[in-house]
């Protein structure tokens, strides 16, 4: 079942087309990353699905139904920047979130999320006295209030230190293990690669690709091999059938095959028959970063 279905969403700001007919589905139980360089339309897209912006064209469905305030109450969201009343402390700000969304319990629920995002000690300090990282953690806490089944997080690790980033990553993984669906926009490829099961890549408002991370990342098979005599190994593999390209990297040889055609056992056998004993043999996944740059031509 799709948690969210986007159908041909388009949005312009004057002459600038921020989104040009974007369509994709977010499967239930996934961690869905929306990737793209700055200005690619990630925040615009999230703003539309949260009813902050109106789409010029297209529509979207939450749980196969048109969007409604009642649905938004069930979704924990962090959009762009932490938006709180600066003169109120964390508890009173979360009371407002609770009063509007009815998510969670006003006392235990608020204390619980404040513990989760490590803000319990500072719960009575005014929001205006918080550091950027603390503001971000409070926003994540507000999104977590009532443990909603769907979370929409726009750049959730913005302003966090490395420990904070790792904590949020673990939190997302943990929520996903418990069956929550998380939709997150980010331009931090490493972060997305570590937590996302699915990804959509945007560039200047166009959807470049979307799908399961493994499907998006793999457009070819890369086999990494190494032996004592690298020259002989290279000469031997040049005659191997199905090879698109051979390239050297860090004293190893990378053999590029069309997607799904590399067979490690056959390569090993081939080399052994030619008198070469392999010291290293590995089917490598392309890194999201490399794939992202390929797709967005950056």
């Amino acid at each position: 079942m799709s948690v969210l279905t986007l159908q041909n969403i388009a949005k312009s700001y004057g002459k600038i087309q921020a989104l040009k007919g974007v369509s994709f589905n977010v499967p239930e139980g996934s961690v869905f990353g929306i990737l793209g360089p700055n200005g690619s339309g990630k925040t615009t897209l999230l703003s539309i699905i949260l009813d902050v912006l109106k789409a010029d064209k297209g529509n979207f469905l939450w749980f196969n139904n048109p969007s409604s305030p009642a649905q938004r109450k069930q979704i924990g969201s962090l959009l762009e920047t932490p938006n709180f009343y600066h003169y109120l402390n964390a508890i009173n700000n979360l009371k407002i979130t609770h009063s509007i969304s009815h998510r969670g319990n006003e006392t235990d629920g608020i204390d619980d999320v404040l513990h989760k995002v490590n803000l319990f000690e500072r719960r009575k300090s005014r929001f205006s006295t918080y550091s950027l990282g603390m503001k971000q953690r409070l926003a994540i806490g507000a999104a977590l209030l009532g443990s909603p089944k769907v979370l929409v997080l726009d750049e959730p690790t913005n302003g966090l230190d490395p420990v904070g980033i790792a904590e949020i990553r673990e939190l997302i993984k943990d929520l996903n293990r418990k069956g929550h669906t998380i939709i997150m926009a980010s331009h931090l490829l490493d972060e997305v690669e570590k937590v996302c099961t699915h990804v959509a890549i945007l560039k200047k408002g166009d959807l470049i690709t979307s799908g399961a991370v493994d499907e998006v990342l793999i457009d070819e098979d890369i086999v990494e091999v190494g032996s004592a005599d690298m020259t002989l190994l290279k000469n031997t593999l040049q005659q191997y059938t199905g090879v698109i390209k051979l390239q050297e990297e860090n004293n190893l040889l990378q053999i590029i095959f069309p997607k799904g055609t590399a067979q490690l056992e056959a390569i090993n056998q081939h080399c052994f028959n030619k008198g070469i004993v392999l010291q290293h043999l590995l089917l490598k996944k392309k890194r999201l970063e490399a794939r992202f740059f390929e797709l967005t031509n950056n």
Binding site: R72, Y87, I100
Partner: protein, 271 residues
Amino acid sequence: MLQLLRTEWLKIKNYRAFWLVMSLTALSYPGINYIFFNIFKEFTERKDAAGQIANMFLGNPFAFPEIWRTTAYASSFFVFIPAIVVIMLITNEYTYKTSRQNIIDGWDRNQFMASKLLDVLIITGIIVALYTTLTVVIGVYNDSANAKDKWSLTYYIGLFALQTFAQLSIAFMVGFLVRKAFIALGIFVFYFIILEPMGMGLLKKYTNDLGRFLPLEISDRIIPPPSFVGRFNEEDYKKALDQVNIHILYTFLLIAIVWSFCFWLNKKRDL
């Protein structure tokens, strides 16, 4: 409705600036009426001929029932103080981007607007309570009139409430459109103190009193000056009294237009 009220209460309960400006309002309304009262008293208690004439000519605008009109008229000059609160409450939502967070958290856009309408109604309620208390206190202090007439002009409570609500609604609209607190306050106060009185004067001179349709003037005319003013120009004063009813209608229309426009725009525009 209760849920909207509760949420708005959570927003203002611990907002010091709100309580500070509300305290200033609570001080300024009695303050201005006290000043007027003292000037009047000083003038009419003079033993010389001018004092005697003033006493005969002015009557006692601070005694029942005339006090209801006098304090309503004097207090109406100070609506810009609660207007500060109204503008602060709406522009804060844009400054902190909580207007969009409230929607993200699950309000629909009409609920957000309705919560702000409640704010304006509550502030109007507080101002009217202040006016009523003040009027009764000054009236009782000055009570020399016969008791049966005491409450004959209490309908000024309703007129004062209508006028305050209409003018605070305009302040709200300015804040809602401008979104920046200082600019919105500047525009409202400049319009309230300088632009509209100037426009009124010019339109009175060069047109057939078209200034009566200026946004604040529409509701200004539902509270005429105290009756002693009529002794300076009886015909003009009678005209002012005759205009009250039609201006009540205009004021209701103005309020409906202002809020319909705000609800419509909030539904249409991106947050």
